[in-house]
Amino acid sequence: MIPIPKKGTPEREAMIREHRECVDSMKGVAGFSVLKCQDAGDTTVVTGGVHENPDLRRVLLRMRGESPKGKLVVICTKVDAEWRIGRLSGIRGVPPEFVDDKVYTCEQEIQHAIFLRRLDELPETAGMPEHFQEGWKHRDDNWPVT
């Protein structure tokens, strides 16, 4: 695993820039991927993003595999109009809570906001021995298991 790039490093800024461009190109699509539409909002030809940036791809996958306890999620508060960021409780029957008051009017833009938050929240050593905790033995990660 590569370290989660630290704040201020060129690697991190490059990831953020690439993610930003992908998000902008996906606006209007009823779906989403960290890829760049050749023509904004049109998925006929897609390039860049996770297909051409392996480090970005790996960091995104690790973010997605974090435990549901405290994981960020998107909540649509007005159908096809408004969205907010929530945090999962990890406790059955306890619904997600909003993390702040910010309302997003674009369902793709909020994906970028969550990406930035996670870069801040994940330690550099996420998933490595330095990050070991008891939950590793109790299937406390989020990778679907059958």
Partner: protein, 759 residues
């Protein structure tokens, strides 16, 4: 109900009002769901014991819950206790075994290991006041402390009430509150719903010795002696109050008492049966052949088989009304809104059209009240973005009494394998985007097709999965063509039989989606007295993409006793029904199809009238921006596609890394399973003829119908579908294939270009 998609790039939400007697203003009222499964036996004098022994095996899943857990608190195991009166075995709030006698509480003070079998028992001798409480783990590890029986003395006489005996719960109160009407029995409020398995519960009216308790594990044995008494011994037969054998009557919703008083328990909210008991030996996987090893019932605090609400509105459907997709629209003065969908189906013999749309209601029920985005943050690992929860999901996240979907795990983490329609189902709604697609899914996605049929001016009937399941071929044979929904993934065997009989006799099938004919579903026979298709069941076994997996020994359905899992592993290939089978899925964005040389074959070139060979087919749409996406099927004649199947268009090489090959299509762990490298990660549009002038056209993508409404139906996906539907809906057999098309074809045996080059 015409169009349920609010996407601003499409036609938007469309409904048409219908004049109906039921239209009007009604007084609203509150009704609640008494969720969670339990068993109960009405109060009887035999339960009014002075002394007793209670015993059972338990396999708790959540002995101790988080203080914020939705049902945090004590859990009832085997109780006849209410409000400080009576007696019963419990797991207390700390997660310890506890005996209650009136207001007295005796506990081991020891945690119960979750997901493990334990034997628990308690005895009370009213004469001496002696109490003994046993907690015996079935497996004791090297560093486990010894759990000694707890012995104490209390001075009391059991105060008896009218409270029923409860299994996996206890009675909170009995009253006249209107909200109690929807409980069973009405007016009795049960609480402390237990999460986990219980096996072999017993009530005996004497304080038994440990040896007698061991004997009593055997329960009532009417065939044991020539005197045919009820007990493991003559002495015990005179003492048994109740000895439930959960292995008896697995396909029912009754827990059989084989003791002398026949105190059968009613099982409420359909707990899970056909599950391995404390004594499962691992040699028989089919409960029908090893019943006594399947004496466990798994109770869950979020089970629901019937909300038991009273109806406020009824509508007698007029004889002269079109068979179509409808919904009852509910509004309030405050601006709240809800829709309750339903379908009006013609009687057999009174079909209104030549075309029938087969609404995949079994699949709708499989996804009913789905919680995956909230329960499993891992949902994000297969949608390749942060999931978006709608207000329905937010409501359900808190109201677990509405139950989950068969894609979910229960609140205790075990897989959900039963789904009832007698509850509010918030996911079968228009204006509902699913987190998987970030677009409509199942019901609202199928409305893309309904919109297209309406816009194009077709007359069509609507039928449902349960109609086909219960009526068989008769439900299909008077139509020229059957059109599926976008994702008829879950099916009964009878439904597959009907489709095969139909296409064998010249019927035509248009498969408008993907990932169909995948999972074995059956209707639970115990609910056939209530209606058709009330409770559906499936098990997720050793293969198939799945969010949970049944434990070994738990693959067979409790209702019908059939083997669950994938149809493929029942020997019924999913490729055999419509010519294609699901190989891959990805939920980020969709792409388009291109024609192949097969599309030039005179057998099928009629389908591409008005579509040039070069133009991209469906590089637009309301689902992911293309018609080939979400879940995709391919042609594979080695897996059951008829050898003469034509693959007329494909999306090969265009899918993202979010698209992955299904696990049943590869054996060894390997790299390169995604859309950027694997050749089977694609969708194939396919056509094949069936005998007697029939045929199948498969469009092989869940996103496909999302392209139909694009530009109000003026697009090349619409052209393709129109060409097929016009041909398939015509009377009489399809025009025969050219004579030269009649020839022998192999499966794996075919003339490979790679070999031809070396000849």
């Amino acid at each position: 109900m015409i169009h349920g998609d609010t996407n601003p790039r499409g036609p938007g939400f469309i409904e048409k009002p219908v004049a109906a007697d039921a239209n009007g203003t009604y007084q609203g009222r509150k009704q609640i769901i008494h969720g969670g499964s339990y068993g109960y036996v009405e109060d009887r004098p035999q339960f009014h014991v002075e002394s007793f022994t209670l015993q059972c095996h338990i396999w708790p899943t959540t002995p101790k819950t988080h203080p914020r857990y939705w049902k945090h608190g004590a859990q009832g195991l085997l109780t006849k206790w209410m409000d400080g009166k009576g007696y019963g075995l419990f797991i207390n709030e700390e997660g310890f075994v506890e005996l209650r006698i009136n207001e007295h509480r005796i506990t081991t003070g020891v945690p119960i290991r979750d997901h493990a079998w334990h034997f628990v028992a308690a005895s009370f001798d009213a004469q001496t006041g002696e109490v003994v409480l046993y907690h015996e783990p079935q497996i004791v590890y090297a560093l486990d402390p010894v759990i000694e029986p707890v012995r104490t003395t209390i001075k009391t006489q059991i105060v008896h009430t009218e409270a029923p005996v409860a299994l996996a719960a206890y009675v909170e109160t009995i009253g006249e509150d209107p909200l109690g009407k929807s409980s069973l029995p009405a007016g009795v409020w049960f609480t402390g719903k237990y999460n986990g398995k219980i096996d072999s519960p017993r009530i005996v009216k004497k304080a038994l010795s440990r040896f007698e308790i061991e004997q009593m594990k055997g329960g009532a044995q009417p065939g044991l002696t020539e005197r045919r008494n009820s007990g493991p011994t003559g002495e015990l037969s005179a003492l048994i109050v109740a000895a439930w054998d959960f292995w008896d009557g697995i396909s029912t919703i009754v827990a059989k008492d084989n003791g002398p008083y026949r105190l059968d328990a009613t099982l409420v909210n359909c707990p899970t049966r056909a599950l391995t008991g404390y004594n499962w030996a691992g040699e028989n996987f089919d409960w029908k052949y090893a019943k006594k090893e399947y004496g466990a019932i798994h109770f869950h605090d979020d089970d629901v088989d019937d909300a038991r609400w009273e109806a406020d509105v009824e509508w007698m459907v007029p004889e002269q009304i079109k068979s179509r997709s409808y919904a009852l629209k509910l509004t309030t003065a405050d601006g709240d809104e809800d829709y309750i969908p339903f379908w009006i189906v013609p009687k057999i013999g009174k079909e209104q059209s030549k075309i029938a749309v087969m609404i995949p209601t079994i699949s709708y029920m499989a996804y009913a009240n789905e919680h995956v985005a909230c329960n499993a943050g891992g949902a994000e690992l297969f949608v390749y973005r942060v999931p978006i929860m709608q207000h329905q999901n937010m409501f359900l996240a808190e109201h677990r009494e509405y139950g989950g979907s068969i894609y979910d795990t229960h609140t205790d983490g075990s897989g959900i394998c039963l789904s009832s329609r007698l509850r509010p189902i918030l996911s079968i709604r228009p204006k509902y985007d699913h987190f998987l697609a970030q677009a409509p899914w199942q019901y609202p996605a199928d409305l893309h097709l309904i919109y297209w049929l309406e816009t194009m001016g077709y007359e069509y009937d609507v039928i449902t999965d349960e109609d086909v399941t219960y009526d068989g071929l008769a439900r299909l044979e008077n139509y020229n063509v059957i059109i599926t929904g976008s994702h008829p993934e879950h099916n009964s065997g009878a439904q597959l039989d009907a489709l095969h009989n139909y296409t064998q006799r010249g019927g035509r099938l248009m498969y408008m989606g993907a990932d169909a004919w995948y999972w074995v579903h059956s209707y639970h026979p115990a609910y056939d007295t209530v209606g058709r298709g009330v409770v559906t069941e499936m098990r997720r076994c050793e293969s198939g993409i799945r969010t949970w997996r049944a434990e070994p020994g738990e693959y067979y359905h409790q209702g019908t006793g059939e083997l669950g899992g994938m149809w493929r592993f029942r020997g019924r290939s999913l490729y055999s029904v419509a010519g294609v089978g699901m190989t891959n899925e990805g939920f980020d964005i969709s792409t388009y199809y291109s024609r192949t040389p097969d599309s030039l074959d005179p057998r099928v070139s009629w389908a591409f009238e008005g579509i040039s060979y070069e133009e991209p087919i469906g590089n637009f749409g309301l689902v992911g921006g293309g018609c080939a996406g979400l879940e995709l099927d391919i042609v594979d004649v080695t897996l059951g596609s008829p050898p003469h199947t034509l693959a007329v268009a494909t999306s090969a090489g265009r899918h993202t890394e979010a698209y992955l090959l299904v696990m049943e299509d590869f054996g060894f762990n390997q790299q390169g399973l995604d859309g950027t490298v694997h050749p089977r990660v694609r969708g194939d549009v396919a056509f094949h003829e069936t005998p007697n002038g029939g045929g199948c056209f498969a469009f092989s993508s869940i996103a496909f119908c999302g392209s139909l409404p694009w530009n109000e139906g003026r697009n090349n996906v619409s052209t393709l579908v129109k060409n097929v539907l016009d041909r398939f809906s015509a009377d009489g057999p399809l025009p025969p294939a050219p004579a030269e098309a009649i020839k022998h074809r192999g499966r794996a045996d075919y003339e490979s270009p790679a070999l031809a080059a070396t000849a």
